[in-house]
Symmetry: C2
Subunit: 337 residues, 2 copies
Amino acid sequence: MKHFITIKDIARELNISVSTVSRALRDTYDVNVETREKVLEMAAKLNYKPNFNATGLAKGSSHNIAVILPFITNYYFSTVITGIQEIAYQSGYTIVLYVTNDSPERELDIIKNLPITSLDGLLVSIASNSDASGHFEEVINNGIPVVFFDRVANHIETSKVMQDDYNGAFEGVEHLISNGYKKIAHIAGPASLTFTQNRLKGYQDALSKHNLPISEDWIIHSGFSQEDGKSDVEQLLKCKNRPDAIFAANDRKAIGAMLTLKSKGIKIGKEIGVLGFTNDPSSEIISPSLTTIAEPALEIGKKSCELLLKHISKKHFHPEEVIFPGKLIIRESTSKV
Amino acid sequence: MKHFITIKDIARELNISVSTVSRALRDTYDVNVETREKVLEMAAKLNYKPNFNATGLAKGSSHNIAVILPFITNYYFSTVITGIQEIAYQSGYTIVLYVTNDSPERELDIIKNLPITSLDGLLVSIASNSDASGHFEEVINNGIPVVFFDRVANHIETSKVMQDDYNGAFEGVEHLISNGYKKIAHIAGPASLTFTQNRLKGYQDALSKHNLPISEDWIIHSGFSQEDGKSDVEQLLKCKNRPDAIFAANDRKAIGAMLTLKSKGIKIGKEIGVLGFTNDPSSEIISPSLTTIAEPALEIGKKSCELLLKHISKKHFHPEEVIFPGKLIIRESTSKV
DNA sequence: GTGAAAGCGCTAACAC
DNA sequence: GTGTTAGCGCTTTCAC
């Protein structure tokens, strides 16, 4: 039990040496065609499975890539992983999954205990208050390529893949403005994240461009959950000067906001416009449907993985920054009529 | 570059043997307290990371478990993985992720190429028309424990974790009946899946118990997507004898159905009641909100992983079947008033 | 074209 | 309590 067929078994069976078997199996070096045939046949017959611990040890490379991210239970991240998985699978790489629950401590613990000796590369989206940049750099210095996606660590010099948060926000807010909203609030994500800052900047610049007021009272930083959206809105409704539109950092917050507005009998669109970010499937399910900026999650996943594989195959890689454009999807929640 | 610190380095530095270092590091056998201290210190100083390929090779066990499932982009599966991940992380196990996209070919390919030599166990939810049971059995015969969750392979003798599909469906349909619906249709999942059969049976038995008609026209098998729900409903609406309620195999189908009904101006609840299964967050977002049977996804994930770890630690394990009860969540979509 | 042998980093007898 | 050594399964130099 639990003894697996090894190349030794094949060698013995065929009365040849293990090195020949090894060579034949990998179809490298010059091996007599007949010999190779025989080896392949016997391997199939014995149902031989290579031991990746052994190959990893001998070659100094497993075919594993680690994915570290805050959550998987949402549309965006689960779709990104699907994209990563797709590329990894095609290329014979295996995905090792680490979930930080958006906790910096957990993230630190994970990265500290990473089996870097059996990892060919790292794909990561950092936690909200990530404190691990030093450790990420250490990994990179150990010769293990790292690609960040979505939530990137700013000052680390490596490849990054993200959506165009600034322009997405800018366009979205301009859309609100052109639909007649004048007092636009922003319920943002944690201030520490780069993309939060980018979306905030896009929002502010759009307001400035159109000479609309930017009020500190109308900018609230909190988490990304539906609940956060709800409490943010409660707070906004208490403002002396009540906003007539809300730009939410993501769709879940937007939906939380809408649910609260609906429960208070406030007409979404007519009284208060709502704009999201992501294009989560829920944005089409809720009524009125939610205007949002679509993020190309699947592409981001694929591209991140492709970049990483490229870095893995080349010794010296040049960090690349890839930015995908978002796409404004206009629905009912931003229409006054 | 890419030379990692090994126990040899520590040994040399401290002028002791590698075996002592190994023992000290693992805190096993009797090692002089002082020696251990020194080793630990030096390991920390040199930033030593164990090579898991090597430990795996030497001990014949990696700390990897593979998770194979159809999708990750939905509430149920992503939550299950979160549960699995939680337990695995606590126990120092690492998760290797495989996504089949619900394709039997892909599933087969994955299982055939599984690095079983570097896997301690397997957690799997099979594809809709899975054809891999022979291969799963082979894995088990190789001494690698397998636990199925949700979508279980029926005739394989190993542990299984699922929700109570039969009783969930039964209760849900009884709820429809008690709310006055008499012509209840069922838009089901792929007929090949065990849980589809269980939910169907629960539905049929509830109807029988209350002497309600079971019409073949009212039972439609298709996939699990929102789109499937939409087309299923189109088909139902064409029936000469139109049903007055729909029990959907899952919430996404239910939501697809509701969206179609809404677009046709059919009043949900009043004219046609809708019942889902899962308790996907979307079921609370849609309006009217969706009555559904909640599945304990997180618990299922945790329990599956716990069971697997138990099987891994014991040589001889007795297969267990764990069934979690569902919970009927009554909302607006099944109310006639 | 093929074999022998060393070595990847670690564990586990077996000595002492 | 510690060192020596063989071995996990595979790759790879070096011979021939």
